[in-house]
Structure formats: structure tokens, C-alpha cells
């Protein structure tokens, strides 16, 4: 078991024939991901990486039965691509592209929600179920199969965390990079309960950052619903005060979103909070030892 995706997930790539799309689709195929085709307008009918190319997501879904889309289109077209996927019946869109305008993401996410499509990202490394399905740009070789679920805002901290877990002799069920943009798809609040329900996941690593209050919301949810041990790190304890011009942002979120505030909330929810990402591995080992007792 795993969450979100597995070896049977049928995946298409939007922005399939572009440079990034091609490079990473190749890597995903090599990892074993069941990529069944791709979408690039005006290249329909061609074959790319031995897979069919379609003009529209509709066509791709009807022909291949794909349920997941990996999105690599340029930033200005991300909103459009997400909404097209939602209307075509895609169930999960993983948006890798960095630099999508925030306004576009507001519209796109609202539309995705309306059509019952989940989204991950944008500006994220993607999602990987170890040794089954990689949808994104993470280096696949780090992710060995095991019993630790991982969720992170930061791409490279996802790799750092997974690498430490594996070096300690454990492995990963599924790792999800949710991205740190102002508007993101699935977040801690939705993914933590998925790990809780997944019988293979025994321990959860959660990596957050300063800014916003998603980690505070996560802390409240962990207290109520999560029985599995959670190890957390919040990046940015030493970050300088944000250079903002107005004050409106801080007031809206109702909190300054500091690392200290988030760490305290998580600790109060029973989470093991480490002060450096270098300590994630050791903390997981401790948590796993407690479970086996």
C-alpha cells in the first residue's frame, strides 16, 4: 500500500515534448512509472518516448484511461493546463512548474476543486511511491521502499529527509513535495490522514517552512486524528525578518508564521520536533524503535 499513486497509476504528461517534460518523463519511465502518453497541442498523432502524443487532455484521457497528470508546461500556461485536466476527468494533477502567477492558481485550484480533482504543487518536486511510481523531478534512487511517509514544502529537504531515513536502514512508503507557493494543492491537512489510513506507513516525517500557517493547522489536526509518530522540522529558524512593504499579509494569516511558533504548536501536539534537518534520521530511528516495543 501507499498513498495517492502506485505502480498501476496511469499517468499522462502535459508539456510532454518540451525539454523539461521530455527529460523528466524519461526519468520517470526508467523508474517504472506507467506513463501512457502526453499532451502537446498541435503534436497530436506523434509518438514521443514510444508513447502517443495528444492535442488535448480530453483525447488523452479517453484513449488511455489516464487518471493522473504530471504538468510541465511553462508558468504562464499552468492555470490553463490545470483547468483542462480537471474538466477532462483527471483525478490528480501534479504541477512541477515553478513561477506560475498566483492569480492563475487561485482560479485553477477553485476549478479543480469544483471538478473533484486533487492537485499537488505548483513549484514542487512531485510525488513518489518508492520503487513503484515517480511523478516528478526527485532523484529516484534515494527513495528505497519502507514504512516512513514523508511530506515536505521544500524539494531538496525532501531528498535530505528521505536520504537520512534510508541511511538509518528504513525506507519510504510515499513522499509528497507539496511546494511552498502562496496557493498550493494538497497540504499537510489532507495528506497526514492519508498516511494515518495507510497500513504500510508506520511513521511520518513532516518538513515545513516559515510563512503561512499550514503547519499550525497541521498541528491541530495531528492532535485530533494522527496516532502514528510524527517527526517534524521547520526550516527558517534563523531566517531574517521578511522584507515586506505593507503589513496586510501578516495580519491576514493571523500570525507571523515564524519557525518558533510552528515548532511550539507541533510540539504541543505531541510531535518530535528537531532543530536541524541533520537530526531527522536519528529521530525517525527513535520513533520506529518505540513502535516495535
Amino acid at each position: 500500500m501507499s498513498i495517492l499513486v502506485n505502480k498501476d497509476s496511469k499517468v499522462i504528461v502535459q508539456g510532454f515534448t518540451g525539454k523539461e517534460g521530455t527529460f523528466h518523463a524519461e526519468q520517470c519511465l526508467a523508474y517504472g512509472t506507467k506513463i501512457v502518453g502526453g499532451v502537446t497541442p498541435n503534436k497530436g498523432g506523434q509518438v514521443h518516448l514510444d508513447k502517443p502524443v495528444f492535442n488535448t487532455v480530453d483525447e488523452a484521457v479517453q484513449t488511455t484511461g489516464a487518471t493522473v497528470s504530471m504538468i510541465f508546461v511553462p508558468p504562464a500556461f499552468v492555470g490553463d493546463a490545470v483547468m483542462e485536466a480537471a474538466e477532462a476527468g483527471i483525478e490528480l494533477a501534479v504541477i512541477i512548474t515553478e513561477g506560475a502567477p498566483v492569480k492563475d492558481m487561485q482560479m485553477a485550484k477553485a476549478h479543480a476543486t469544483k471538478h473533484g480533482m486533487m492537485t499537488i504543487g505548483p513549484n514542487c518536486p512531485g510525488v513518489i511511491t518508492a520503487e513503484e511510481c515517480k511523478i516528478g523531478i526527485m532523484p529516484g534512487m534515494i527513495f528505497k521502499k519502507g514504512n516512513v511517509g514523508l511530506i515536505s514544502k521544500s524539494g531538496t529537504l525532501t531528498y535530505e529527509g528521505a536520504n537520512q531515513v534510508v541511511k538509518e536502514g528504513f525506507g519510504i512508503t510515499t513522499a509528497v513535495g507539496i511546494g511552498g507557493d502562496p496557493i498550493i494543492g494538497l497540504s499537510y491537512k489532507q495528506i497526514l490522514p492519508m498516511f494515518e489510513a495507510d497500513p504500510e506507513t508506520e511513521c511520518i516525517v513532516m518538513i515545513g517552512e516559515i510563512g503561512g500557517d499550514l503547519e499550525i493547522q497541521a498541528a491541530a489536526l495531528i492532535k485530533e486524528q494522527i496516532t502514528k509518530p510524527v517527526v517534524a522540522f521547520i526550516a527558517g529558524q534563523t531566517a531574517p525578518k521578511g522584507k515586506t512593504m505593507g503589513h496586510a499579509g501578516a495580519i491576514v494569516s493571523g500570525s507571523a508564521g515564524t519557525a518558533a511558533e510552528k515548532m511550539a504548536a507541533l510540539e504541543a501536539a505531541g510531535v518530535t520536533v528537531v532543530v536541524s534537518p541533520a537530526e531527522i534520521g536519528a529521530a525517525v530511528t527513535k520513533a520506529m524503535a518505540k513502535i516495535s516495543k
Binding site: P101, D104, K153, S154, M245, V252, S276, A278
Partner: protein, 390 residues
């Protein structure tokens, strides 16, 4: 990206939002000329810097004669303004906005900003105009009116009514004026991909009209590509020169106070590296994210920028290669040592994609001062020790 008050008001005018007449100047002579042109009898001399709290810092003053405009322009132009939104060093005032005095009956606060939790913009307003809005939110939150505007339906009259009644406006004309003002302000926000607009104070005149006495605007950098007119308003002199230089090479750099220069890929790992250094008793000299497409040239540039800071006693390169390939970073380090005189110890930790190849490259290069870190903890510990001279 942020812009100046005078630029925000140019945009307001385009949308028919009332603002006092004003002229931006860069010299005392032009300040007097501008005042003559505006006619008076009262003028406001305003420092143009990218920070709030200018009035309290002494950067906004009232003049009742041309002589006074000259005196004040002399005083404010070239001053270093320190407000609660600037650093302790403050900001140099290089531009002034000379503005007509306004007929003020009462002051309000009005802003439009993204609410990340609601995932849509909200209009925020208060009767406590001219005050520090953070204090209002803290002490009298009931005096803040919040109206979310779903972009799918856009601004509707009911949004405006919620605002007008929330602010206690009873006069029908005043209500209408407020609804119209808010509608145009939301249009400014949506059309231009603004991140935030803040007007503090928004004033009500004796005639019950609303005028933007101030204007702050920030924009979504990701959307600037489709707003060339806005992108042109960027004032590089308001930004840190090193940060601007770094950005040209795809590097994201922020200077800090410490002694250990950091070069890391990914913002999260960069912050995590700083946290680790700090936790081990060292102090980071900077935040530097080399981004996803690092190559020899960008890494060399990174070293150059880090080494410009005389406080730097050691450099910690911490790369977890995903898209970034470690061999490229290794070549960049070698290149950097050729271009720049790297006279401090460099601790290198490379992991992930092509890490073994990178280790081989570094080994063969035989660079003095280069110390290999086995993992994040080991690398940080070695960097802290090196900065302390051990």
C-alpha cells in the same frame, strides 16, 4: 516587486481612483518648481522609499509656503529614513513627491491582499486610518472589516455594501462613493496581478468623497511578464545591489550578519543549513540558493558574491543534487578557485545525482583549503570549526 507611492498613484489615476495632484522630483529646485505648478496654498513633501511608516520617521511633512517647501525638500532629500519597516540602517531618500494638501474630514484604512487560507483576495478596511494597522489588529480587531472577493464572480455591489456598512457610513452618497472606490481598487488589484495594495490613510473629504492620500503596491513577480508597464516601474536603487547582481545569474541571495558563507540548492535546504550552522554554534553570513540550473559560471559567481563580504571566514557548500548535478557543482567550485581568490576554507558536501563523479573531480583537482563534509551534520560541524580557526 514593490513600487513607490507616486507610481501607485499613477496606476490609481488610470482607473479613476481619486488622488491629490502631485509631482515626483529628484532635486530641491524641481521640488519648488513642482510646488509652484501645483499652486498650493498647502503642499505635502513626501519621501519616496519602499517602506511604510514614513510619516512617523520624519519623511512626510506639510508646507504652507514655497520657502517651506524648499526647506523641507532640502531636509528630506538625501536623508536616511529609518522606519519600523526598514532595517536599522534605514533607506536613503532619493525621490520626493510634492503633493497638494487635501481637505480631510476623516481618515480610513483600505487594502486588498491575498488571504492564503481562503485562497482569494480580501478587502480589508478600518475606521482607524493613519494608524499603524498592526496595532489596530492587535488592540481593536473589531475595528477591522474584512470582505473576501471570489475572483470567479469578481467584485459585486454587495461586497461594497458590506464594506460601507462595516465602516459605519450612513450617508447614501458616501456609501455609493465607497462602493465605487472599492470596486475600482479591486480592478486595479486583479488586472495588474498585484500582491497587495494598501491605502493608509484613505481620506473622506468634506464633500463625502474618498481620496487615496497614500498608496503602496506590491506585485506578484511571477506575473510581471504579462505586465511590461509595471515591470518598467522597478526601482533597482531601492533593492540590495548584491541581491540584484545575484539574481542576474539565477541565484537568490540575502546578506546576513554571520561568518559562514553558505551556498546551497533549494530555499528549504538553504534555510535548513543556516539553522544547522546556528544550532552548532556558528553564524551564517548569507542565504544563497543556487537554484535548479546551477553550472560552473553560476557557482563561481556565488563564490564571488559571498567573498565580497569581509566577515566571511569559511564557506559551506551544501548540495543535494536532484535536478542539479553534483559534478557540475564540483566543476563550478574548481572554476571559482581559478577566477576568484578563495582565501578561506571551503567545506563541500555533495550528495545525490552524480555525487561519486563529483567526489572524483574534487579529489583530482587538489585544491588547498578544500574540506569534504560527509553529510549535512558533518559538513556544518566542519564549517563551524573552520570559521573558528580550528
Amino acid at each position: 516587486m514593490n513600487i513607490h507611492e507616486y507610481q501607485a498613484k499613477q496606476i490609481f489615476k488610470k482607473y479613476g481612483l481619486p488622488t491629490p495632484k502631485g509631482i515626483m522630483v529628484e532635486s530641491v529646485k524641481d521640488a519648488v518648481k513642482a510646488a509652484e505648478q501645483l499652486g498650493g496654498p498647502i503642499w505635502v513633501v513626501k519621501a519616496q522609499i519602499h517602506a511604510g511608516g514614513r510619516g512617523l520617521g520624519g519623511g512626510v511633512k506639510l508646507a504652507k509656503s514655497l520657502e517651506e517647501v524648499e526647506t523641507l525638500a532640502n531636509e528630506i532629500l538625501g536623508m536616511t529614513l529609518v522606519t519600523h519597516q526598514t532595517t536599522a540602517e534605514g533607506k536613503l531618500v532619493q525621490k520626493l513627491y510634492i503633493e497638494d494638501g487635501a481637505d480631510i474630514q476623516s481618515e480610513y484604512y483600505l487594502s486588498v491582499v491575498l488571504d492564503r487560507k481562503l485562497e482569494m483576495p480580501i478587502i480589508m478596511a478600518s475606521t482607524e486610518g493613519g494608524m499603524n494597522i498592526e496595532d489596530v489588529a492587535e488592540n481593536t480587531p473589531e475595528k477591522i472589516v474584512i470582505v473576501p472577493v471570489d475572483p470567479a464572480i469578481g467584485f459585486q455591489s454587495f461586497h461594497g455594501r458590506k464594506l460601507a456598512f462595516g465602516l459605519g457610513l450612513t450617508d447614501k452618497d458616501e456609501q455609493k462613493n465607497m462602493i465605487r472606490f472599492a470596486s475600482k481598487l479591486v480592478a486595479v488589484y486583479m488586472d495588474n496581478d498585484a500582491e497587495m495594495i494598501e491605502i493608509n490613510p484613505l481620506v473622506k473629504t468634506g464633500k463625502g468623497e474618498f481620496i487615496a492620500l497614500d498608496g503602496k503596491m506590491g506585485f506578484d513577480n511571477s506575473a510581471l511578464g504579462r505586465h511590461p508597464d509595471i515591470a518598467e516601474m522597478r526601482d533597482l536603487s531601492e533593492e540590495d545591489a548584491d541581491e540584484v547582481e545575484a539574481a542576474k545569474y539565477g541565484l537568490s541571495y540575502v546578506a546576513l550578519d554571520g561568518e559562514i558563507g553558505c551556498m546551497v540548492n533549494g530555499a528549504g535546504l538553504a534555510m535548513g543549513t543556516m539553522d544547522t550552522i546556528n544550532h552548532m554554534g556558528g553564524t551564517p553570513a548569507n542565504f544563497l540558493d543556487v537554484g535548479g540550473s546551477a553550472n560552473a559560471e553560476t557557482v563561481a559567481k556565488g563564490f564571488e558574491i559571498i567573498l565580497k563580504n569581509p566577515k566571511v571566514k569559511a564557506i559551506f557548500v551544501n548540495i543535494f543534487g536532484g535536478i542539479v548535478r553534483c559534478d557540475r557543482i564540483a566543476n563550478g567550485i574548481i572554476e571559482a578557485t581559478k577566477i576568484t581568490d578563495v582565501n578561506v576554507p571551503v567545506i563541500v558536501r555533495l550528495d545525490g545525482t552524480n555525487a561519486p563523479e563529483a567526489a572524483e573531480i574534487l579529489k583530482n583537482a587538489n585544491i588547498a583549503n578544500l574540506i569534504v563534509g560527509d553529510d549535512l551534520g558533518d559538513g556544518a560541524a566542519k564549517a563551524v570549526a573552520a570559521a573558528k580557526g580550528n
